[in-house]
Symmetry: C2
Subunit: 300 residues, 2 copies
């Protein structure tokens, strides 16, 4: 049987390596500033997925020397109370990062909440001014999932200059920022989406293929340029043989022989996202204290 | 001889048509708000090109019922004095738009100046938060040149959905915002640049080709997909037969038989930029007074 293991980009191992470096950075920050870097996480309502995400974030933070503050609200919380809480956290000097776990209940405007976070503490990178700076190439806080994908790509390929990068999906939190990051790495970038005619015409040019569309096993070998690197951002829950299973946007078994390497789902991009959140928190603690910060996440 | 006139996208006529609509909008705004829309233009130093640009902007504004305030400084002006002036204009309710003519002298940070402008008065669309909103698809103030290009494309082609748009050049004020606009119009978008390998491989797929690289007559017919629409943003000064001449990035004579239509240089994109600046000023006067504004610039 074909041995695919050498082609798998191990996101779990890469995230461990990155977290190890973040831990060192956190400890240096603590020495500088006489306090640990600190993230405040706000959880609204009883969404079980959100609860698990928040729990993992806090656990990871505590493991690597980042202080965490968890603030929980019932789903009935008023928008104004949430805004006041965020204002308080903005004003607290010892809080470096603020994360509001999304989604929020319908009566609360996510846009207003994101806008209310001090951009220098916006460790999710979702504030419009942080997106604007990303767009302009002045990196401040970068959204975690695309940042994690870029980290994997640079570890896998070294310099990306001159490569053709094709992104499938144009969401604000993955597809678009991914393109901005790859453009700055000197890739020729193509964004495709649901209105693209003849998708494979583009994906067949991809030295780097990134899929973030949320369609289980949508990308097949007929989409793949031989020897490409594939990053699968999809996390799709399907039923298989009456069991629940998580699969990516890419039909892993179908493409594996053709690719140079590929991220699995689970165990690929997912673990990187949380590592990048920790990275952003420590980065914020450096920048807010005017300590020089070296972007080790871009190391090849 | 081949008759090319039917293929020319007449930017002068399109800008006149748009300015005519802006004039009507300005007059409605004046009725609503008991004052004309108003733009303040700041000119620093004695750059003769800048002086001509500013003069044209003010003349155009006055012609269509927009009040203008011109503020001139010597090139020795201190950054802080400029910042105080902008703060004053930010605070004046009767000023709808603030434009600082670029470039500025080296001792003044353009970034700091742009950041100091109230984003709701940023009629150039250069503030990071306006770029961020463009990126996110929440249109506020949009940069004038790409906006003008989009206007021409929609007038020429109607719906752009599903078309392949290839942008040559990745500047912050043309290439990147152009891509964001075309992505929202449901184009498949490709950004190419100096590090792109085999440029024509991409441009040959372009139903819409936009060039903004500043290289005279760089784009030849071997780059062109038959029947495409070409928008030439380049304004390059060259010597031809010992005379000064302005030419675009596209070799007009070389490509004309192959294209569906093309903007000439001069007389294509150039006149649209100033019309879009007037559009933005009137739009700002509507939005700042909570008057409902219909984005007629996107009409097909």
């Amino acid at each position: 049987m074909f041995n695919s293991s050498s082609k798998i980009i191990d996101g779990i191992q890469h995230s461990k390596n990155l977290l190890h470096r973040v831990k060192t950075l956190a400890s240096v920050s603590e020495d500088f500033n006489k306090r640990k870097p600190c993230i405040a996480v706000i959880l609204v309502g009883e969404n079980s997925a959100s609860e698990i995400y928040v729990k993992n974030k806090i656990k990871t933070a505590n493991n690597i020397g980042i202080k965490s503050i968890k603030i929980s609200y019932p789903s009935s919380v008023l928008e104004n109370d949430l805004l006041s809480q965020i204002k308080k956290l903005n004003d607290q000097n010892e809080v470096d990062g603020i994360l509001v776990q999304l989604p929020l209940p319908n009566h609360i405007s996510e846009e207003k909440i994101v806008l209310s976070i001090d951009p220098s503490k916006d460790v999710d990178g979702f504030h419009p001014i942080n997106f604007g700076n990303l767009f302009l190439g002045n990196y401040t806080m970068l959204p975690c999932t695309p940042l994690g994908c870029l980290h994997l790509l640079k570890k896998e390929l070294g310099s990306l200059s001159g490569l053709n990068a094709v992104i499938v999906g144009r969401s604000n939190i993955v597809g678009k920022p991914m393109q901005s990051l790859l453009l700055k790495e000197n890739c020729t970038t193509i964004i495709t989406h649901s209105k693209t005619i003849n998708l494979s015409e583009f994906t067949l040019k991809a030295d780097i293929l990134i899929s973030a569309i949320g369609k289980p096993k949508f990308i097949k070998k007929n989409h793949i340029k031989p020897g490409s690197v594939v990053i699968d951002v999809g996390i799709n829950r399907i039923k298989l043989d009456n069991k629940n299973k998580i699969v990516g946007d890419v039909d892993f078994e179908d493409v594996i022989e053709k690719v140079k390497s590929i991220t699995p789902v689970p165990g690929g991009v997912g673990p990187m996202t949380i590592a990048c959140l920790m990275y952003n928190t420590v980065k914020a603690s450096y920048l807010r204290n005017n300590n020089k910060f070296k972007e080790v996440i871009f190391d090849e």
